[in-house]
Symmetry: C2
Subunit: 501 residues, 2 copies
Amino acid sequence: MPGLTRLQCRSLMRLSGRATPIARQQVTNKTPPARHASSQAASNGSKERIVILGSGWAGYAVGRTLKPSTATRILISPRSHFVFTPLLASTSVGTLEFRAAIEPVRRLNLDEFHQAWASDIDFQRKVIRVEANTRGDVGAVTGIQLTKGTEFEVPYDKLVLAVGCYSQTFGIEGVKEHACFLRDIGDARIIRLKVLAAFEKASLPTTSDEERHKLLHFAVVGGGPTGIEFAAELHDLVRDDLSKLFPDLKRFVAITIYDIAPKVLPMFDQSLANYATEMFRRQGITVKTEHHLQRIRREGDHLMLKAKELPEEVGAGVVVWSTGLTQNPLTSLLLGREIDGLGKIAKDPRTGGIVTDEHMRVQLEPLQAKVSTAPSAAESPTTPLPDVFAVGDCTAVKGRNYPATAQVASQQAAYLAKQLNKGEANSSSSAPFKFRNLGTMAYLGSWRAIHQSGKDELKGRAAWILWRTAYLTKSMSIKNKIMIPVYWLITWLFGRDISRF
Amino acid sequence: MPGLTRLQCRSLMRLSGRATPIARQQVTNKTPPARHASSQAASNGSKERIVILGSGWAGYAVGRTLKPSTATRILISPRSHFVFTPLLASTSVGTLEFRAAIEPVRRLNLDEFHQAWASDIDFQRKVIRVEANTRGDVGAVTGIQLTKGTEFEVPYDKLVLAVGCYSQTFGIEGVKEHACFLRDIGDARIIRLKVLAAFEKASLPTTSDEERHKLLHFAVVGGGPTGIEFAAELHDLVRDDLSKLFPDLKRFVAITIYDIAPKVLPMFDQSLANYATEMFRRQGITVKTEHHLQRIRREGDHLMLKAKELPEEVGAGVVVWSTGLTQNPLTSLLLGREIDGLGKIAKDPRTGGIVTDEHMRVQLEPLQAKVSTAPSAAESPTTPLPDVFAVGDCTAVKGRNYPATAQVASQQAAYLAKQLNKGEANSSSSAPFKFRNLGTMAYLGSWRAIHQSGKDELKGRAAWILWRTAYLTKSMSIKNKIMIPVYWLITWLFGRDISRF
């Protein structure tokens, strides 16, 4: 039933009383798959091949917004899904089911999707070299020991770089090995399993009280919205659920947020940051500002943290790392070298990102710029690299200082996709990208949040309602728009999900 | 708020306008946890300690049914949840969320729960030796390399053995390494990931058509209800969802069921088994009876299967193993040795299970029975081992020949728990256990099922409705009773979940 949506198919099936058996559909013996052949050969049809690298806030939004009528849409990402990052903390404590925070890329029905890493780009041949990620997002679980991913080339007419950033560990010992990140859905799952494992371990009759204190100390490094919201959600989990299931362990639980800055939530005005600190104090969450973590090491079943400002190591069951970004290896590779006869892609000296103009066009700097005394990329003369665009965290718009947030990434993506739809992406004459600040929100626990939009401030229960509503309207698919409130209701009625799965 | 259900707590919180912050609750400085101390020392209170080993159909049902007023209820299981096994196949293809098929044991609010393996039992000291499973159900995922689980002892007054069975691989080469089982929720997740990975791998432009045929051949070994239902659900997934997401791959998909017996679904009458075979034929699922699998080996990204009856090896992307049971190592350990001065636990010669009488009391045979010419356990004289009971797949009721099904296990568990509640479990005078056959069902794909209860038969759409309704009413918690139809509705509207997570 081509051309029909699933919903329409379902209705038809219901009307006709039965679905078409696959066996009947299988008899047609088609020629080899057209879509795969097309990625091998250069484009020869009338439609342009627009290739998007990445399935985060930027890449997924470009893929969603591109019109199928105007271009062949190809998305390449090592992840098969988009993650609705603001809900990650909720999924990590069982308030929401993991799946409610992700959208499979295949459901966008693009013309091609390759679950693969882009390992290199030849801007002259207009070809991307990719390595398949057939192990999937959590390949390790399946026990499949696949060989190194197959490598192949994907040609493009227009290219959108939306590869995002990696987490920055600042080279601190033990962070990569022992801390949990909170950037993908697999991270959220690992945190949930580790928190519950710490409680099970602490509940054993053979565990000493000293060990219980260590196991049930949850450390969060980084006082930005991600770290703050995780601490708040974890506090809710402990108070509402785990303290009932493990009543004897409640007194051992502690949550600490460490940050190197003098205050947490720097993007909020002082009054809101103070409100957050006061909320946390009442909830028993400790905030330690101006603390520099120096090492994390494992000791038996718990971890030991060393901070410069603390005389002794502190034990912790789980450490969540939510501070700092660093450029993706592909970004570094592309920025580090010369493109024959064209110049070099301009690199933002502050973030290390790809410099674009206000039309999201990747900028080249002439080669002699290298020898000059490194002027700020914002000042040096640059020219656009034709047909190559960049959006999201991997970019730095010339002369602007946008934060690396989902809001900026999705607005840039929507702008660029519309330009591509109109066929004006390469043009300098169209209206440039303009960021519209819709405000920042953070959940603080106990059904309270803060929200700031310019000078407007909102805090407490009203901000929490706004926080939940905003997530519902921003959430991607209709399916998740239905499921998220269902999960909230179920959690409210029956408590969070505490199965160790 | 002791004594209140969560629902009542939530209502109270709503009325009072806020929840109690954990910080206030933490100031009380209690003496060391009473519940842990109690598992170290022998019972000295007035209530009996009833210890249940296992959290499957038998163990979980005993835990649920025991009255908190009459006994201290302790459950020990390496798994922190109960699995609603008839829904496993649905979760493995994304029709249902995994979590809808499990119930966390901690939600039963028993007096003690230890996530641990029982490694030995001293029937004279009335003590169980356990090893903690702190890695959780999917410990490997978390990356926590814990030391060997702590060992400790748990004393009992009455003991219920409900340890179930393991999967039987008949020593066939490669089954353990390469085949998927479908007994726990983690198995369902691995199958889902492997099926989707096979499609992603097959969709790569570099994959040959020959390799695609191998990757997209799904082999099921065992033609019982589990294998049949998995094949049916997989067929639905391919027809409804994957054939739309991967239209070019549809023609490579094949599903085969192998069984050594001359017919599949032996528990159904011939007319229903014929209906199933005809349904499968129309859906393009191949049933190969009287086929003996001899080996599974990996070759690159796919597997190769060797059957005695086939001249050549057959490629397969995923092999699901759903045939045969073998006794749990604890059962074998207990049955293999003498209990000083008492005798030996009687072993059923057919299943290798623990012999019980019709009151589910574990039976001892006198030691001299060993030297006689191995008479059937059903005939030899046995006596009950006081305070020790066994239910479910690990048992064989003397003189009966109950199948190893969830129905038998849960009815035995309910019977025993009621006897324990009445304080009559050790008595021979009360009414013996009687199995009431409620019928057998199997889903066949395309919204059709078969159902048999004695001479009554039902097939097709009506049986499918009965199949779904039965699962709803039998499903354990109210939460899942709400969520299961929600997931069904969502799947019907938006398709199955295809995220590789």
